[in-house]
C-alpha cells in the first residue's frame, strides 16, 4: 500500500520519533526494585505487629510493582500515551467491577446493611 502520495507530516515525524526503549541498565534497576518490593511484601506478611495495617501496605506495594512492570517492562512510560489509555481505562473499569461486586455481596450476606429511616 504505497501508492498514496499525500502523507501527513505530523504522522511521519511521530513514526520516526517512535520506539525509544530503555536499555538493559534501566531494566536491571527495575528488577532490583521489584525484588526489594517483593521481599518487603513477604516481610510484611510475616511480621505480627504489622497485621492491623497489612491490607493497605500490601495493596500499595502491589500497586507500585504493577506500575513498575507496566511502565518500564511494558514500556508504557516511554511509548505513546495511546497505549496507556487503551490499558488504563479497562483497568479502571475492572477495579470498579470488583469494588461493586464486593459491596453488593457484602450486603447480600448482611455484613453491610442499611435501614431506611
Amino acid at each position: 500500500m504505497s501508492d498514496h502520495a499525500i502523507k501527513n507530516p505530523h504522522i511521519e515525524a511521530h513514526a520516526v520519533a517512535h520506539e525509544e526503549h530503555p536499555g538493559p541498565g534501566v531494566y536491571l534497576l527495575v528488577a532490583a526494585i521489584l525484588t526489594v518490593l517483593t521481599a518487603a511484601e513477604i516481610t510484611v506478611f510475616y511480621v505480627p505487629g504489622l497485621q492491623p495495617v497489612l491490607v493497605p501496605i500490601l495493596l500499595v506495594l502491589a500497586a507500585v510493582k504493577f506500575a513498575f512492570v507496566a511502565g518500564f517492562y511494558m514500556h508504557l512510560y516511554y511509548d505513546s500515551k495511546v497505549f496507556t489509555i487503551f490499558f488504563g481505562f479497562p483497568l479502571l473499569l475492572a477495579l470498579l467491577i470488583v469494588l461493586g461486586l464486593l459491596l453488593l455481596f457484602a450486603h447480600l450476606q448482611g455484613v453491610l446493611s442499611f435501614t431506611i429511616p
Binding site: M1, S2, A15, I42, F45, L61, M74, V82
Partner: protein
C-alpha cells in the same frame, strides 16, 4: 435517479467476480466477502428465529392450546431469543454492515487483521451450529432455560440433558468470535483512517462502531467467566451456583448482566449508527449536532456498565443498590434523548425523500422511542417489581429490539444493498414491506403492554380462558403472522432484486460518505488511491464544495459527475492485497471439535486442539513478513503506531475484565465457604519463590527484547530460552502446589474455596502455559536467525503478553496469598 456516467465501474473486476469458485470463498479474507458470508448466514438464522416466533404465537393464539407442548415451548422461546440476539442482530450489524462498511467509510483497503476477520466468521459458524446440536438427537435436546439461562435451573440436576451443554459451549464459542471481531474493528477504526479523517470527521456509523467495539472488549469477558463457571458446574461437578455448598445463583445474574446490559447497547449503537447514515442523504442535510451525537454515544457506553442491577431489582439488592442502579439507568435516558432529538432536528426542514430506507429510519425513531419510554418505567424499582417477568417486559424489549434494531437493520439493507450487490432493491415491494411491518409490529407488540398489566407472565406456554387475556393474544398472533408475511416480502425482494433488479450506479442516493465514491460493487481493494479527507461528509464536500456541508444542499440529484476519482490503470499493480488463507476455517473446525469433545468423546478435544494449534502456527508463518517492522504501513497509520501492538494492548485491556471477574468471585465466595479447607492451606514460601521466578523471567524477557532490538540474535535467543525456562519453573511450582493440595484432599469440587482458587490460579497458569509455548516459538525462530532488529516487534508483542501475565500474578499473589486471612465481606 439520473443516469450516471460509468467512470471506474468496469475497469477492474469487482470483489464478487474475482476470484471465483467455492474455494475462493472458503479461504477469503476480503472484508467484503466475509461480510457477505455473515449476511447470508444471519439471514438464514433470521428465518429460523422468525419461524420460532411464529410457532410461539401459534401456541399462544388461543387459551388451553396444546399445539406445542410445554417442553418444546421452552426450547422455542429460548432459541428464539438466543438466535435473534447472537445469530441475527449481532452478525448482521457487526459481521455484515460494519465489516463491509468500516474500511469503506474510513478510506482503507481492508480491516486491520484480515485473517482474524475470517477466523471470526468461521468461529461464528461453529458456534451457531453448536447451539443447534440438540436437534441431532431429538427435538427435546435444544436449550430451554431462557436466553439469559438463569442458574440454578441450568445446573445438571435440574437440566440433565444436553440442552444446556450445547448452550454453554455454543455461547462460549460465539464469544470468541465476537471478541475477536471487536478487537479487529476497534484497531481498524482507531488506526487505519485515511489521511485527514480525524475522529470528528468520521461518519457517525464509525463512532457507533468504535464505541460498540469497546463495549464488546470490556463486556464479553464477564459472560465468558460466568459461562466457564457454569461449564465447571455441569462438567466438573463444582458448586459455583449451588446453594447447598454456600454459593448463590445470584452470582450468575451479576456476571451475566454485567455483560448483558452492555450487550443491549452492543446491539443498539450500530443501529443508531446506521440510521444516522441513512437519515442525512434523504434529508439532504448534514447530521444535526454531530459532536453531541458522538459524545452521547460515549456517555451511553460508559453509563451502560453501571446499570446492570436494573435486571435484578427482584433479587433484593437493598435500597442503596436499588437506588443507585435506578438513577444510573434513568441517566442513560439523557444521552439517548439527545440522539433522538438530533435525529428529529436533522429531518426538520430537510428536503425529505421517502425511500424505503428513510421510511424504516423514521419508523426506528418512533418505535425505538416508545421502547425507550417503557424502559424508563422499568428503571423505577417499585414499578419494576410489578412489571418484571410479565408481558410488559416482552413488549418493552421488542419495541427496542424489533422496532429499533431490526428497523435499523432493514434501513441498512435498503440503503447499502446497491453498494454491496450492484443492484437496487425494489422500492415498491420495500414500501409495502414497510407499511405492513409498521402495522403488524404494533399490532403484535403493543397489546403486550396491556397483557402485562393484566398480569400475564412471560414464558408461559398456555393460559386459562377466563383471565381476560384471550382477545389480545388472538389479535397479537394474527398480527404476528402478518409480520411474518412482511418478512416474506423482504426475502423475495432480496432474491429477486439481486437477480433481476435495476443496476445501481456508484452513487444512487447522492450520498455523503466515501463508500459512494467507489463503484458498486467495489473492487477487491476498495480504493484505487486512498482518499484524502478534508471535511466531515467527505464525499459530499468533494461533490459540492464546502457550501454543501452546511444547511440544505442544492437539489441536484446524482453527484456522480464528480464521483469516482479515476487513476491510471497501472496503479492496480502496486496494490498488494494479502493472500487468502484456509487456516481460519481450520481454526473454527478445531474449536468446534474441541467443544464437541467435551460432550461426547474426550479425545476429540486433543484433535480439536491440534487443529487449533496447527492453524495458529500456520497463520503465523504463512506470510514471509511475520513480525516484520513495516515502516510504510506505520507511516500510513493514523496514529503512527503498529496495528499489532495496538491490538495486543486492546486485548490486554479486555483481559483485565476477565481476571477482575475471576478475582471478584474468589473474594466474594471466600467468606461463604462452608468449612473444610480454606486459604490457610496456601503455601506462602513456595509461592514467594514462584513470584521471584516470574519476576526474573520478566527481566530476561526485556533483556531479550533489548538484544533483538540491537540485532543481537544470539543473546536474543539465549534470553528468550531463559524466559521460557523460568516460566516452566513457575509452572512446575504450580503443578507441585496443585498436586499437593489434591493429595491433602482439596479438589476443585471440595468447596467454594477450592473451586474459586483452582479456577483463578488455574486460568493464570493456562496463560503462563500459552506464554511459554509462545516464547519457545520465538526462541527457536530467533535461534534459527530469523528474528533480528527488523522483526523485533514479534518479541515485543510476545513480551507484552508475558509481562501482563506477570502483573496479574502480582495481583493474585497479594490478594489471594498474602491477604489470605483477610475477610472481604
Amino acid at each position: 435517479m439520473a443516469a450516471q456516467p460509468k467512470t471506474l465501474e468496469y475497469e477492474y473486476p469487482n470483489y464478487l467476480q474475482d476470484p471465483r469458485g467455492i474455494w475462493s470463498w472458503l479461504t477469503t479474507i476480503d472484508h467484503k466477502r466475509i461480510a457477505i458470508l455473515y449476511g447470508v448466514s444471519a439471514l438464514f438464522f433470521m428465518m429460523v428465529g422468525g419461524l420460532e416466533a411464529m410457532l410461539i404465537r401459534a401456541q399462544l393464539m388461543v387459551p388451553n392450546n396444546h399445539l406445542i407442548g410445554a417442553a418444546i415451548y421452552n426450547e422455542l422461546f429460548t432459541m428464539h431469543g438466543t438466535t435473534m440476539i447472537f445469530l441475527v442482530v449481532m452478525p448482521l450489524e457487526l459481521g455484515f454492515f460494519a465489516n463491509f462498511m468500516i474500511p469503506l467509510h474510513i478510506g482503507a483497503r481492508d480491516v486491520a487483521f484480515p485473517r482474524l476477520n475470517a477466523l471470526s466468521y468461521w468461529v461464528f459458524i461453529a458456534g451457531a451450529i453448536f447451539l443447534h446440536l440438540g436437534l441431532v438427537r431429538s427435538l427435546a435436546g435444544m436449550p430451554d432455560a431462557g436466553w439469559f439461562g438463569y442458574a440454578n435451573l441450568t445446573e445438571r440436576m435440574y437440566s440433565p440433558g444436553i440442552n444446556i451443554d450445547t448452550w454453554v459451549l455454543g455461547l462460549l464459542i460465539l464469544g470468541v468470535s465476537t471478541l475477536l471481531s471487536g478487537l479487529n474493528f476497534f484497531v481498524t477504526i482507531v488506526n487505519m483512517r485515511a489521511p485527514g479523517m480525524t475522529f470528528m470527521r468520521m461518519p457517525m456509523f464509525m463512532w457507533a462502531m468504535l464505541v460498540t467495539t469497546i463495549l464488546i472488549l470490556l463486556a464479553f469477558p464477564a459472560l465468558t467467566v460466568g459461562l466457564v463457571f457454569l461449564f465447571a458446574d455441569r462438567f466438573l461437578d463444582t458448586h459455583f451456583y449451588r446453594v447447598s455448598a454456600g454459593a448463590t445463583p445470584i452470582l450468575w445474574q451479576h456476571l451475566f448482566w454485567i455483560f448483558g446490559h452492555p450487550e443491549v447497547y452492543i446491539m443498539a449503537l450500530p443501529a443508531f449508527g446506521i440510521i444516522s447514515e441513512v437519515i442525512t442523504p434523504f434529508s439532504r442535510k448534514p447530521l444535526f449536532g454531530y459532536p453531541m451525537m458522538a459524545y452521547s454515544l460515549v456517555l451511553i457506553a460508559f453509563l451502560s456498565y453501571g446499570v446492570w442491577g436494573h435486571h435484578m431489582f427482584a433479587t433484593g439488592m437493598g435500597p442503596i443498590a436499588d437506588s443507585t442502579f435506578a438513577i444510573t439507568t434513568m441517566l442513560i435516558a439523557i444521552p439517548t434523548g439527545i440522539k433522538i432529538f438530533s435525529w428529529i432536528a436533522t429531518v426538520w426542514g430537510g428536503r425529505l425523500r421517502f425511500t424505503t430506507a428513510m421510511l424504516f429510519t423514521l419508523g426506528f425513531i418512533v418505535e425505538f422511542t416508545a421502547g425507550g419510554l417503557s424502559g424508563v418505567m422499568h428503571a423505577s424499582p417499585p414499578v419494576d417489581l410489578q412489571q418484571t417477568d410479565s408481558y410488559i417486559v416482552v413488549a418493552h424489549f421488542h419495541y427496542v429490539l424489533f422496532g429499533g434494531m431490526m428497523m435499523g437493520i432493514l434501513a441498512g439493507f435498503y440503503y447499502w444493498w446497491p453498494k454491496i450487490t450492484g443492484r437496487m432493491l425494489n422500492e415498491t415491494i420495500g414500501k409495502w414491506q414497510f407499511w405492513i411491518t409498521l402495522w403488524a409490529f404494533n399490532g403484535t407488540f403493543f397489546p403486550m403492554h396491556f397483557l402485562g398489566v393484566l398480569g400475564m407472565p412471560r414464558r408461559i406456554y398456555t393460559y386459562a380462558p377466563n383471565m381476560g387475556w384471550d382477545f389480545w393474544n388472538y389479535f397479537e398472533s394474527i398480527n404476528a403472522f402478518i409480520l411474518g408475511f412482511a418478512f416474506l416480502l423482504f426475502f423475495i425482494n432480496l432474491v429477486w432484486s439481486t437477480l433481476h433488479g435495476e443496476h445501481s450506479s456508484a452513487d444512487p442516493w447522492d450520498g455523503r460518505t466515501l463508500e459512494w465514491s467507489i463503484p458498486s460493487p467495489p473492487p477487491a481493494f476498495n480504493f484505487v488511491t486512498i482518499p484524502m479527507v478534508t471535511a466531515r461528509d467527505a464525499f459530499w464536500v468533494r461533490k459540492y464544495g464546502s457550501v454543501g456541508a452546511h444547511g440544505v444542499a442544492p437539489a441536484i440529484s446524482g453527484g456522480a459527475a464528480a464521483a469516482p476519482v479515476g487513476a491510471p490503470a497501472e496503479v492496480h499493480e502496486h496494490i498488494h492485497m494479502p493472500a487468502p488463507s484456509i487456516y481460519p476455517l481450520i481454526f473454527g473446525l478445531g474449536l468446534f471439535m474441541a467443544a464437541l469433545g467435551c460432550m461426547i468423546w474426550i479425545r476429540l478435544i486433543l484433535i480439536g486442539g491440534a487443529l487449533i494449534l496447527m492453524s495458529i502456527l500456520g497463520m503465523v508463518f504463512e506470510y514471509p513478513t511475520f513480525g516484520q517492522f513495516n515502516p510504510e504501513a506505520l507511516a500510513e497509520s493514523t496514529l503512527g503506531l503498529d496495528n499489532r501492538k495496538l491490538g495486543m494492548w486492546a486485548f490486554l485491556g479486555s483481559e483485565c475484565v476477565f481476571f477482575a471477574s475471576l478475582i471478584s468471585t474468589y473474594m466474594v465466595y471466600k467468606d461463604r465457604n462452608l468449612g473444610g479447607f480454606d486459604a490457610m492451606i496456601l503455601n506462602i514460601p513456595l509461592t514467594s519463590f514462584s513470584t521471584f521466578i516470574l519476576l526474573t523471567s520478566s527481566l530476561l524477557m526485556v533483556l531479550a527484547l533489548a538484544a533483538v532490538q540491537r540485532d543481537d540474535r544470539k543473546w536474543g535467543a539465549i534470553w528468550l530460552f531463559g524466559t521460557a525456562f523460568f516460566g516452566m519453573i513457575f509452572l512446575g511450582g504450580q503443578a507441585y502446589e496443585f498436586t499437593d493440595f489434591v493429595l491433602q484432599g482439596l479438589k476443585i469440587q471440595t468447596n467454594l474455596f477450592g473451586q474459586t482458587f483452582y479456577t483463578l490460579v488455574g486460568f493464570h497458569g493456562i496463560h503462563v502455559l500459552i506464554g511459554v509455548c509462545w516464547l519457545l516459538v520465538l526462541a527457536f525462530t530467533t535461534a534459527a536467525g530469523k528474528i533480528g532488529k527488523d522483526r523485533s516487534l514479534a518479541v515485543e508483542i510476545g513480551g507484552l503478553y508475558w509481562h501482563f501475565v506477570d502483573i496479574v500474578w502480582v495481583v493474585i499473589f497479594t490478594l489471594i496469598y498474602l491477604m489470605r486471612t483477610v475477610k472481604h465481606a
